[in-house]
C-alpha cells in the first residue's frame, strides 16, 4: 500500500513513539489523525505537521471509551474521506510486583492494587482492541485497503514488576494472528494486521529516567543504545508498503538480550 494519499490514525499520537509515527507518516504524504488524551500535546504535533505542509486533524479522546473510539474513527473519515492505517500507540505503565513482603515478618505487606491492574489492561489491551475493531469496521464497510498496527512490547515475554503490562502486551502481540485468521474466515482480503513489539525506546519517559538505571538497561542491548522512536516509525511505514508482512508481530529492540547473551 502506498503511504502517499493514504489516511492514518495514531492513538497516543501526542507523544513518544506515537508522535514519531504520525509525523513520519505525514512526512511521507499520509493525511493523519492525532488522537491523544492530552490536548496541548495534540496541538504541538498538529502544528508541527502543519509546518511540514501536512494535513492533520487532532482529536482529544480516551482510547478506553467505546464512545470516544467511535468519535475519532468517524472524525477521521469526516475529515479525510477514508481510513487506511490505524496504529494503537496509546499506552501506560503502572509497575509493581504482585506481592510485596515485609522484610521483618516475611508476610505480605502489600498487594498490587486492582486500580493498577485495571488501568493498564483498559488502556493497553481494551483500548487497542477498540481501535483495531472500529478501524477494521470502517475499512470493511468503506471498502478501503488497510493496515492495523497494535503496539505490543518486548516485555510480552513476561517482565517482573509488570504483570499488568506484560499480560496486556502479550495479548496485543496475539492480535494479528487472530484478526487476520478471522479476516480470512470472513473473506475480508483488503486489511492486514502487523503488531510491533519495541524494546527500550528513547521516549521522554526513558531518556529522563535515572541515568544509572538506564546504563544498566543498555548493558543488555547489543546495539548499545536505546531504539529511536523514528526507527519504529520507519518500520511501521515499511509495514504499510510491504504487503507480504501480515499476521505477525515484529520485534524492534536493537538486540535486547537476557544477561549472559540469550536474546530476549
Amino acid at each position: 500500500m502506498e503511504i502517499k494519499g493514504s489516511v492514518a490514525l495514531v492513538t497516543g499520537g501526542g507523544n513518544g513513539i506515537g508522535e514519531a509515527v504520525v509525523k513520519h507518516l505525514a512526512k511521507a504524504g499520509a493525511k493523519v489523525a492525532v488522537v491523544d488524551m492530552v490536548q496541548k500535546n495534540i496541538d504541538r504535533v498538529v502544528k508541527d505537521i502543519k509546518a511540514m505542509g501536512g494535513e492533520a486533524v487532532g482529536i482529544q479522546a480516551n482510547v478506553t471509551s467505546e464512545a470516544d473510539t467511535a468519535r475519532y474513527i468517524k472524525g477521521t473519515i469526516e475529515a479525510f474521506g477514508q481510513l487506511n492505517i490505524a496504529v494503537s500507540c496509546a499506552g501506560i505503565i503502572r509497575d509493581g510486583t504482585m506481592l510485596s513482603l515485609d522484610k521483618e515478618t516475611g508476610k505480605v505487606s502489600k498487594k498490587l492494587g486492582l486500580d493498577k491492574w485495571q488501568a493498564v489492561i483498559d488502556t493497553n489491551l481494551t483500548g487497542t482492541f477498540l481501535t483495531m475493531r472500529d478501524a477494521a469496521e470502517a475499512m470493511v464497510n468503506g471498502g478501503w485497503q488497510g493496515l492495523l498496527v497494535p503496539i505490543s512490547s518486548v516485555n510480552k515475554v513476561g517482565q517482573v514488576g509488570q504483570i499488568n503490562y506484560s499480560s496486556a502486551k502479550v495479548a496485543d502481540a496475539l492480535m494479528p494472528k487472530i484478526i487476520v485468521g478471522e479476516f480470512l474466515m470472513r473473506g475480508i482480503r483488503n486489511i492486514r494486521c502487523v503488531a510491533i513489539a519495541p524494546g527500550y525506546t528513547a521516549t521522554p519517559m526513558l531518556t529522563g529516567m535515572n541515568q544509572d538505571a538506564l546504563k544498566a538497561i543498555l548493558e543488555d542491548v547489543h546495539l548499545g543504545r536505546l531504539v529511536a522512536p523514528e526507527e519504529i516509525a520507519s518500520l511501521i511505514s515499511y509495514c504499510v508498503e510491504n504487503e507480504a508482512l501480515n499476521a505477525t508481530t515484529i520485534e524492534i529492540t536493537g538486540g535486547l538480550c537476557y544477561p549472559k547473551g540469550i536474546a530476549k
Binding site: 502544528k47 505537521i49 502543519k50 501536512g54 487532532g58 472524525g75
Partner: protein, 105 residues
C-alpha cells in the same frame, strides 16, 4: 475567516495557503488547533460547511455521567446535595446560561 458557534464552542476556519485550519477556544480561554491543512482548494463557504460537519463529529453534543459531582453541590441550608458528574465539556450548569440556546424560563 468564517467563525462558527456550535454547541457553545467558538470555532474559526482560517486560510492557510489554499487549505484551511480549524481552531477553537478551550474553556480556559486558550486557543487549540482542531485541524490543519484541510480541504485543499475549497472555497471559504464550502470549507465552512465541511468544518462544521467535522466539528459536529469530533465534539458531539451529549453528556456523560461518571459519578458524584462534588464541585457543584446543590445547597439546602447546611446540606450539600451532589448530583452526577457530567463531564461533557459543554454541559451547561444552571448558573451558567447557554449562549446558543438561552434559558427561557
Amino acid at each position: 475567516m468564517p467563525s462558527l458557534l456550535y454547541n457553545d464552542m467558538q470555532f474559526s476556519v482560517e486560510p492557510s495557503g489554499d487549505r484551511w485550519d480549524i481552531t477553537y477556544r478551550l474553556p480556559s480561554g486558550a486557543s487549540a488547533l482542531a485541524a490543519a491543512g484541510l480541504f485543499p482548494g475549497l472555497s471559504e463557504a464550502d470549507a465552512a460547511v465541511r468544518a462544521l460537519a467535522l466539528v459536529k463529529t469530533i465534539f458531539p453534543v451529549g453528556i456523560k455521567s461518571v459519578g458524584p459531582d462534588v464541585t457543584h453541590p446543590n445547597r439546602i441550608g447546611d446540606l450539600k446535595i451532589v448530583g452526577p458528574d457530567v463531564t461533557h465539556p459543554n454541559f451547561i450548569y444552571w448558573d451558567k446560561d447557554s449562549v446558543s440556546s438561552p434559558k427561557t424560563l
